[in-house]
C-alpha cells in the first residue's frame, strides 16, 4: 500500500547490506521467521514421542520395602484432614472481615469457578495469528531511537487567578466541552486493540403493553440461545406512554454479556453465518460508536432468527415474539477509528461516512 514504486530504490538500497550499518550486531544476530523454515514430516513428529512407557519401569527393592504409608501418616506432626474432607466455599459473602472467605474464582473449589476453555474458537485463532500482527504493522509509526515527544499541555486546565474565588476550585475541563476523552497511545506490540466483550441487549416494547410476560420470556430465551449466557432483565428507566411502560415498574429489557470463549464463538457465528445472509445489508454505519472504541449496531427480528441456534429450532419460538437486539462490540481500542480497523479486519463491513 505504501511503496508505490519501490524497485528503483530497492535496487539502490540492496547492496548496502555489505556496508556496516549503525547497529550491525543486533541486525545480524536477529532471528527471522524466514530463517527457520523446517520442512517437518510426519515422521519427525513421531520421533518426538517417547517409545518406552513409564509404567513399565521397575521399582528397586529398597524403595518398595521402605514404602509404608501408614507409618508415614502416623509419624506426621500435624495430621492431614480426613480423606473425605473438602473445603466448602461460603455460600454468602459476609464481608472482608469474616473468617470464612471464598477462594478466588479461578480456584476449582470456588462457586464461581468455570472450567475451560474447552475449545479454540476460530475468531480468536484468526485474531492471534493474522490480524494482530497486521494491525500492529499497519499502525506502526517510526520514531528514531532516543526520540522524546514534546510534552503536552495538561488536559485539565488551571484557572487564571483573575478572581479570588478561583482558589481551590476544581480544574477546568478541556476546551470545547466537558468530556474528557480517552488518551490514545501509539499502538505497539503490547496494546494492539482486541475485542474485549460483547453485549447483546434487547428492548422488548410489548413486554408491558399486553400485560403478560411471555414477550420478555421469549426474548430472554432467544438471547440465551444465541449467546450461551444467562440473561439479566432490566426495568424501564423512563415512562413511555404509548406503550404503557412505567418507569421502575415494568421489566422491558434483557441483556447478555459475553466474555472469552462465548464471545469468540458468538462473533464467529455473527460474521460467518448471520451477517452474510442479511438481505440488502450494507454494513455497520460509519458513524456508529461512542468515540471510545465501542461499536454498536442493531439486528431486526428477521436477522436474529438467522442465528443457527434459533433457525434449527425455529418452530419452538412464537415467530412474532422473536426479539430484535442491539449488539455492542467492546474493544480495547481507545478511539473509534482503531476499533473500526480491528472490526473490519475481523469481518464487519462499514458503510457511509466514517465519523470518528
Amino acid at each position: 500500500m505504501a511503496a508505490r514504486e519501490p524497485s528503483r530504490y530497492l535496487a539502490r538500497a540492496l547492496p548496502r547490506t555489505s556496508v556496516p550499518s549503525i547497529r550491525p550486531q543486533g541486525f545480524l544476530s536477529r532471528r527471522n521467521v524466514s530463517d527457520e523454515a523446517p520442512a517437518r514430516r510426519l515422521s519427525d513428529h513421531l520421533t518426538e514421542l517417547e517409545s518406552a512407557s513409564s509404567l513399565s519401569t521397575t521399582v528397586p527393592e529398597s524403595a518398595a520395602a521402605s514404602f509404608d504409608p501408614l507409618a508415614r501418616a502416623a509419624a506426621r506432626k500435624n495430621q492431614l484432614p480426613r480423606g473425605r474432607y473438602q473445603f466448602r466455599s461460603p455460600k454468602y459473602n459476609r464481608g472482608p472481615l469474616h473468617p470464612h472467605q471464598p477462594p478466588p474464582p479461578s480456584h476449582p473449589s470456588s462457586r464461581l469457578f468455570v472450567p475451560g476453555p474447552f475449545s479454540a474458537p476460530r475468531a480468536e485463532q484468526t485474531f492471534d495469528s493474522t490480524v494482530s500482527p497486521d494491525i500492529m504493522t499497519l499502525c506502526y509509526v517510526h520514531t528514531p531511537p532516543g526520540f522524546k515527544p514534546p510534552p503536552k499541555s495538561a488536559r485539565l486546565r488551571e484557572w487564571d487567578d483573575s478572581s479570588p474565588y478561583h482558589k481551590n476550585r476544581v480544574l477546568r475541563g478541556p476546551r470545547g466541552g466537558d468530556v474528557l476523552r480517552l488518551l490514545r497511545k501509539p499502538i505497539k506490540f503490547n496494546n494492539i486493540p482486541e475485542i474485549e466483550r460483547i453485549t447483546i441487549h434487547s428492548y422488548v416494547k410489548n413486554a408491558a403493553a399486553e400485560r403478560n410476560s411471555s414477550w420478555l420470556h421469549v426474548a430472554g430465551i432467544a438471547v440465551q440461545a444465541i449467546s450461551n449466557v444467562r440473561v439479566e432483565t432490566f426495568k424501564s428507566k423512563s415512562n413511555v406512554a404509548p406503550w404503557g411502560i412505567a418507569a421502575g415498574r415494568d421489566s422491558v429489557a434483557v441483556k447478555a454479556e459475553l466474555y472469552g470463549e462465548n464471545m469468540h464463538h458468538f462473533f464467529g457465528k455473527l460474521v460467518d453465518v448471520v451477517l452474510p445472509r442479511i438481505k440488502d445489508w450494507e454494513g455497520v454505519k460509519g458513524s456508529s460508536g461512542d468515540s471510545s472504541g465501542n461499536i454498536t449496531f442493531g439486528l431486526i427480528p428477521e436477522n436474529v432468527a438467522l442465528f443457527p441456534e434459533l433457525e434449527i429450532n425455529y418452530d419452538m419460538y412464537p415467530p412474532k415474539m422473536i426479539p430484535g437486539c442491539h449488539i455492542t462490540l467492546h474493544t480495547t481500542a481507545k478511539t473509534d477509528k482503531d476499533a473500526r480497523l480491528l472490526l473490519s479486519a475481523m469481518g464487519i463491513p462499514f458503510y457511509g461516512k466514517i465519523v470518528n
Binding site: R31, R122, A123, T126, P133, D134, H142, I221, G347
Partner: protein
C-alpha cells in the same frame, strides 16, 4: 448467588453431577413431548360424551367470552426451561482426587500462560524487527529517506480499512476458492 451458564448445566449432565436435591429431573425430550401432547390429544368416545354434557359450564362460558387462559404451548415450554434451576453445586472430591484435579488445573493454567507469553514475545520480536528495518531505511538507504517517508504514509488506512476479502476466519483446510458455484443439489440435474 450468581447464576451460571447453560454450558455448565450441560457439563454437569455429561459428568453425571446431580444438580439439585430434588428427584431426577425429567428429560427435555419427555417434557416437550408431554406438554405438546397435553392439549392435542383427541378425546376418546367416553371423554367426548362427558365433555359434551359437563357438570360445570365455567370453561365453556369462559371460552365463549374469549377470556380463557389460552397460552401458547411453546411459551409454556420456554418458561419451563427458562426458570428451571440449572446451577450445579461446586465440585466435591476426596483429598486425592481433589489433588489430581488441582494439579491438572494448575498445569493447564500454566500451559496457557506460557502460550500467551510466547505469543507476546513473538509480537515483540516482530515489532523490533520492524523498528530496525525502518531505522535502516531512514538512515542507510541512501535516497535521502524518501522510501522511508513513503513507507510511513498512513493515507487511507483508517478510512478504507481492510478489504472484506481479508476477513476470512481460518479453517483447518481452507479451499483454494471459497465457494463452489457449480455445486448442485444431488437430486437436481
Amino acid at each position: 448467588m450468581k447464576s451460571l451458564s447453560p454450558a455448565l448445566a450441560s457439563l454437569a449432565n455429561v459428568f453425571k453431577i446431580p444438580m439439585s436435591m430434588a428427584p431426577v429431573r425429567p428429560s427435555i425430550a419427555r417434557t416437550c413431548h408431554e406438554t405438546l401432547n397435553r392439549q392435542t390429544q383427541q378425546p376418546g368416545p367416553v371423554t367426548a360424551a362427558l365433555q359434551s354434557a359437563p357438570f360445570s359450564t365455567t370453561n365453556a362460558m369462559a371460552a365463549r367470552k374469549g377470556k380463557g387462559p389460552v397460552v401458547d404451548k411453546r411459551i409454556t415450554l420456554i418458561r419451563y426451561f427458562l426458570h428451571h434451576p440449572l446451577t450445579p453445586r461446586p465440585l466435591r472430591f476426596s483429598r486425592n482426587r481433589y489433588l489430581r484435579h488441582w494439579t491438572i488445573h494448575r498445569a493447564w493454567q500454566l500451559f496457557r500462560a506460557q502460550q500467551r507469553r510466547k505469543h507476546e514475545l513473538e509480537l515483540m520480536r516482530q515489532y523490533q524487527s520492524m523498528q530496525e528495518a525502518c531505522e535502516e531505511l531512514r538512515t542507510g538507504a541512501g535516497d535521502g529517506g524518501k522510501l522511508f517517508r513513503v513507507s510511513m504514509n498512513k493515507k487511507g488506512i483508517f478510512t478504507d480499512m481492510f478489504p472484506i476479502e481479508y476477513a476470512r476466519m481460518q479453517t483447518d483446510s481452507p479451499p483454494s476458492d471459497g465457494w463452489n458455484y457449480d455445486w448442485k443439489k444431488p437430486g437436481q440435474k
